[in-house]
């Protein structure tokens, strides 16, 4: 049913960053009017880079982009916008204090605010969307789903022919998703727009799209009509590779003594009640896509979510429900966002490492000599590339800064280590270092909880995996009997957990 000529076609598009990292290694992609095209891929597969190239935020290094059959070179966000490409991001950049109407008109030129003609024109567009929001309401007062519709209306007001949507449903509730789906279908089939729909959720890709492209390691490894595919085939294409550097033992390790018991832990609106036990020497993986409640679970265990209720027992003793009490008890959390939550930017490497140790050990005075020794030990142990303990942590690269955040907690007083996406956004070398360290720590007896979007990492080093979706723990997987494809299906699909054959 490929009848239309492509509206936009990418031909061997590459992107190499100045430091040599290859993000896109030659991608071909044809987007046609009146069709919804699904784009999938694991983290680091090149999706974000591709979207940034389409939106003009990054220039491509090589290959050709054709728009209506003509070669174009977009180097600024303005260029594709004027041509008719609108990009809608997952975190919608709107001005919260302005009304929906003013946000929609934000990039229009002209002199006057509040022209009647504008209002009528936008009103007509919004009515085709089914009036999902009131034009005069400040965006801050709109629910997230309505904000997504504001962004879509913004795209339409600019006369877009191609709408690129980067995980538009990741932060939406069920009925809000339905509204977005309906809108996408109407845009494609009634108004003849081309849609590029990026998502982690396989079920919505299956339900919504006409054709699918899967990226892996900067290449399009699968391109097919959606009705010729099933979820398993897509999941396999997404996964498809292994962590070569970490050898996985042939058989399951036996679990040690129970150490951390979590009983009926919950947080209203974020986490449905969960209970589980963490054992000595165990790496417990938490699998789930963004927004599945995996970080919320970590914060609830650590006591840094003030709304969380329930019991956390360490060696049979209740852990206090504040982070300072949790730290004193021996819990340690490496948070997801190292820059926002992990380190103090004004502090040196040694000072950042010392910050947590003091919370564990107490003490009133700073012992500069032992801090320098600790920093040196951390630099050696984690192979941190840094000029020394006096270096500011902001002068380090992402991978090395992450190692500093991990090193904060590598003390004898840490009794349970919670790692939230410790390998996000860092290169393969640092990633392997951290994973090896985590496995070694667990083999030394330390219980570890590990959240990762990279399911191959979980499968490589975890003893058990808990699967989360929509704030609920939906099952448990045995890493020795589960494939990455299964995990992708469980976290992203509607597939029943038992049916995926992964019951531990």
């Amino acid at each position: 049913m490929v009848t239309h000529p492509p509206l936009l076609s990418l031909d061997g598009v590459t992107k190499t960053f100045p430091n040599g990292t290859v993000a896109l290694a030659g991608v071909d992609l044809d987007l046609r009017a009146g069709r919804v095209h699904g784009l999938l891929g694991a983290n680091g597969a090149g999706k974000s880079t591709l979207i940034k190239i389409l939106s003009g935020a990054l220039p491509a290094s090589g290959g050709a982009i054709r728009w209506h059959g003509e070669a174009v070179r977009w180097t600024r966000p303005r260029h594709p916008r004027e041509a008719g490409v609108a990009t809608i991001y997952q975190h919608i950049p709107l001005v919260p204090t302005l009304s929906a109407l003013e946000n929609i008109l934000l990039d229009e030129r002209g002199t006057w605010r509040n022209r009647t003609a504008d209002r009528e024109r936008i009103g007509a567009i919004v009515s085709t969307l089914g009036h999902p929001f009131d034009l005069n309401t400040p965006v801050a007062q709109l629910p997230i789903g309505a904000r997504q519709m504001v962004a879509i209306a913004q795209a339409l007001a600019g006369g877009a022919e191609l709408v690129v949507m980067d995980e538009p449903t990741a932060s939406l509730a069920g009925d809000e998703r339905q509204t977005v789906y309906r809108t996408i279908r109407r845009l494609a089939y009634d108004e003849g727009k081309a849609i590029l729909f990026v998502s982690h959720f396989l079920d919505e890709i299956m339900a919504l799209t006409d054709e699918v492209t899967v990226l892996r390691d900067g290449r399009a490894v699968l391109h097919a009509e959606t009705d010729t595919l099933d979820e398993a085939r897509i999941a396999e294409a997404i996964a498809g590779r292994a962590v070569a550097a970490i050898a996985r033992p042939d058989q399951a390790r036996s679990l040690g003594e129970p150490r951390l018991e979590v009983q009926d832990l919950r947080s209203p609106g974020k986490l449905s009640p969960v209970s589980f036990t963490l054992h000595t020497g165990e790496v417990l993986g938490i699998a789930g896509v963004l927004g599945s409640g995996r970080s919320e679970l970590m914060h609830a265990v650590f006591g840094s979510d003030p709304d969380a209720r329930g019991q956390v027992l360490l060696d049979g003793e209740t852990v206090g429900r504040y982070p300072d009490e949790a730290v004193a008890a021996g819990l340690a959390l490496v948070p997801e966002d190292r820059a926002e939550q992990g380190y103090v930017p004004q502090f040196s490497l040694a000072e950042n490492i010392a910050l947590a140790r003091v919370s564990q050990r107490g003490g009133a005075f700073i012992d500069a000599a032992s801090e320098r020794a600790d920093a040196k030990a951390a630099i050696d142990r984690l192979s941190i590339k840094a000029p020394g303990g006096d270096a500011l942590v902001t002068e380090l690269s992402g991978g090395n800064a992450q190692k500093v955040v991990v090193a904060k907690w590598l003390t004898d007083d840490t009794r349970v280590l919670l790692l939230d996406e410790p390998t996000a956004g860092i290169d393969i070398g640092a990633r392997t270092d951290i994973l090896k360290l985590v496995r070694a720590l667990a083999d030394g007896g330390l219980p570890v909880m590990l959240v990762s979007s990279e399911f191959e990492e979980l499968l490589a080093i975890c003893d058990r995996i808990l699967v989360m979706r929509d704030g609920r723990m939906i099952g448990q997987a045995d890493p020795y009997a589960t494939s990455e494809t299964d995990l992708t299906l469980m976290t992203g699909g509607t597939t029943d957990v038992a049916a995926a054959g992964a019951n531990a």
């Binding site: 916008r81 504040y322 103090v344 930017p345 000072e351 090395n400």
Partner: protein
Amino acid sequence: MSAKIDWRRTFGLREAGVYYALLILLFVLAAIASSRGLPPYLSAENLGNIAYQASLIGIMGVAMTVMLITGAFDLSVASVAALAAAVLVGLAGSIGFVPAALAALCTAAAIGLINGAIVQFIGINAFIVTLGTLTAVRGLVLILTGGRSLMVENPAILGHMLAFESTRISLFWPALVLTIVIAGAGIMRRAPLPIAAGLIIGALALLAGPTVAVAAPVIYLALFTFVMWAVLRFTVIGRRLYAVGGNAEAARLSGVNVHAYKLAAFVLSSVAAGFAGILFGCRLGAINPTALQGSELTVIAAAILGGTSLFGGAGSVVKTVVGALLLFTLTNGFNVLNLGANYQGLIEGVVVVAAAAIYTVGGNRRRSRKPVADTAPEAPPVVEGATA
């Protein structure tokens, strides 16, 4: 791994600019004084005077610096100081100096607690809350004084208060002892900076002679600054104050009770303001309801001159005191040399903005040192966003 000193950084404008500014200003004023045939400007007496004039602002500035380090802000200090002075003067006649001073400090602490609790637990911006208390507490002073000046009538108590504030303390022998302690510590640790600092203090003491003395508030300021400097420099509390201001979330997840530290900073700021108010009340044994009005801005200006970041996580109490000295040297210079008081405000304002500019530019240069990349750089943020 060594505690190497980066000399270019330590003596660069960013780190040491406020010291240079004070020295240059002093020598310029001294040169003008001698060219006009006035008595020597750099006399021990005149320098002691400047320090005395700067002491109240300095005391509040040190606490304000701690406050700014934690990432908060306190506009109410001058009003709190006036309230403390009013409580002291109002009560001293009936209950005696010491109990009245304690009551004044408790009043100040209570206001700090209210400020901090509203900011931390209700979550209103500190600027707004303390702008409110600035006005409300000043109103309280007007109510307490009935809009008139209060004074202490009892001569014995008045004497007690004046003694607390205006006793002159000889500096000669303490300075020599300090010289030996600092230089000795420097020699033991093989650190050149303390040796030099010790020798300079000793030389200045010998130069000024054994009669040199300063008023008590200067000593109070010096002690308070020393204690706060040591707390910030050597204790875990200090480290955590910086961490709370630098990245509150990282501090919280590292097991720091962020609320407690921020609340403590508000209380410290108000108690220091209360102490400054007590000194102010003792100076004259009287209080006028508009006393110290507007000084909160001088306090903040001193902290900014000292390089304290308004965004938290950085700052030095010693440099704030130097900043206060700089501001009062300007004032003092204009008065002593009769340079035309009309220009004073203009020049002070320019100095503050110029200092902030130096810190900002210097700070950028340090930050722009590129990290050794080992991974793909994050693409630049898409500023224009999701628009068609």
